[in-house]
Subunit: 333 residues, 2 copies
């Protein structure tokens, strides 16, 4: 059973999940995997190599866990957190721990092994967002969970262990530290101004127009004012929405289009870089917060994060967001 | 001029330092450097390739910036922060910024290009610690600085751009986020218990004796209860000392010995892994805090940090600290 442990000094929870890698000798250098699809568990025909699907988009009448699907959601075969059990919170002297309960799912975005997210059609991209939404709504019903994280690792250097295009969802029994920090910061601002800080940022970005990359009626993509990484990009709904799953049905195609275009621009500008993106949304037990605003953070993996950054949380970024925005805007798509 | 910018939501400052890397095309894959020393700016004979030394240990009467030194401290040729100027704090609508003022120095630990830190003699290791201390005491006099970070990147994957063994020191005009979090956490505990949380942790670790790797009269090395990374290791003074530079003269040899042994154990256990270490100490404008306790955090670079960890601050660690401690204790040195 994975275990959740809390650092008593700064209150950071970590997952100790020994089933994913064990002895020191397991940490020898990771080698590059070759392009392959015969053995890919995410390819059609290999459905039996994965846990059974929890959601799939497939033609009416077609059989579950068989080919024919266009998108498939499964439990992670090597989950960071386990779905069965209770939390069993416990103290050990100064230390706190609980059982590693949670959901860990994989969204297989396409049956085509050789497509990346930027190669998806608009409709396929919309389906990915629908799957995110549907799984979120379902997992929110579980009273053990406090937060749902949806993220994508593209490329081995960004942490993807399988190359077949997929995203992941983790439901956790705690609100992760970074989400809490954002909520607290947004709350402080709201107390002072009675306005959402994200809404204020969007207004200033549109008016200054030096860090905006693209926008449409409902969404905007900006290079944030204080980015940790070169070409760090945020995608936000222009009107105030606290929870990702409250995105209006009519706006999903607009989000799909903008996110795909933004990823395409990054891919062309930076020669198909490894990247991570994450959906930042409100904790499960909140309702339509006036002070928080869901958004996506995209982080291309271009620089190494060294000791200074790790130890201080103080990032050194060699590229101004103004230069990055200008460059990304000029890319032809 | 590098610029410091503050994320308005979570209050994280970043350094925008465009002199270290510029255009998107500069981010092509980093290639492995070959072993070389003829062109190494840190090797004896090449002193003119670096900025002039700010400190050196060399025989009495020998000439500065010439060979003969056993340890040499220089300003970083490509500093993340610049030493000259004022902070010029400024708001831009919702955003805050200031000039990137600070000190960025390099401690060249040995004249021998082929030695790593674990190969240093006890005396050389002590000299490294003395150099850290001496530079800290000097830079603390500058009223523009609030915090001093001393760190080491060992190996290219840990961010070292030159292989000749060196550490770095950065003096910053702000207290970095991670340091603030530790101080705040330790402060909360102190308010409640009137004891230093680090002292309490050390007492519990010695009594449980399952996460202690090595100790001597003055220092202890443990695998922390909630480690972010496999084989993450902390080195702490056993008695309460808030500031690194207040380490007693008589204890420096004990720290040198323990740190070197700990790095040797990690190196043997994990096949000479890339790693980072960082000295966590009190901010400059505090005096002998009763609630904070300086320490070193060592982070071997064994796993990739993926989107989940980046976006949540919620780390997945495949190795329990109890297993890691047991394994490290059994290594023969």
């Amino acid at each position: 059973m994975p275990e959740l442990r809390k650092d008593p000094i700064i209150g950071r929870w970590v997952i100790i999940s020994t089933e994913r890698g064990k002895r020191p000798t397991d940490f020898s250098t990771l080698s590059k995997k070759k392009r392959q699809n015969s053995a890919c568990p995410f390819c059609p025909g290999n459905e039996s190599a994965t846990p059974p699907e929890v959601l799939a988009f497939r033609p009416p009448g077609s059989e579950p866990n068989k080919p024919g699907w266009t998108l498939r959601v499964i439990s992670n075969k090597y989950p960071a957190l386990k779905i069965e059990g209770d939390l069993n919170r416990e103290g050990r002297g100064i230390f706190d721990k609980m059982d590693g309960i949670g959901a860990h799912e994989v969204i297989i975005e396409t049956p085509d092994h050789f497509k990346n997210m930027v190669d998806l059609t608009d409709k396929e991209m919309e389906d990915v967002l629908w799957a995110y939404r549907e799984r979120t709504l379902d997992l929110k019903k579980d009273p053990r969970f406090r937060y749902i994280i949806i993220f994508k690792n593209q490329g081995e250097a960004a942490g993807a262990s399988l190359e077949h295009s997929h995203s992941q969802l983790i439901a956790t029994p705690i609100v992760p530290k970074r989400a809490l920090e954002e909520l607290e910061g947004a709350h402080k601002y709201y107390e002072y101004k009675e306005r959402c800080i994200f809404c204020d940022i969007i207004r200033q970005e549109i008016s200054e127009n030096v860090r905006v990359v693209i926008q449409n009626d409902a969404f905007i993509a900006i290079e944030p004012f204080a980015p940790r990484f070169p070409f760090e990009t945020w995608v936000l709904p222009k009107s105030h929405i606290a929870d990702f799953e409250d995105t209006k049905k009519a706006d999903i195609p607009l989000l799909a289009k903008l996110l795909k275009e933004m990823l395409t621009r990054l891919s062309k500008a930076l020669n198909n870089p490894p990247y991570n993106f994450l959906i930042h949304t409100s904790p499960i037990d909140t309702h339509h917060l006036e002070e928080y605003h869901w958004h996506i953070e995209i982080m291309p993996k271009l620089t190494r994060v060294a000791g200074f950054e790790w130890g201080t949380g103080f990032y050194i970024n060699p590229t101004t967001p103004e230069d990055a925005a200008k460059y990304l805007k000029e890319i032809e798509v």
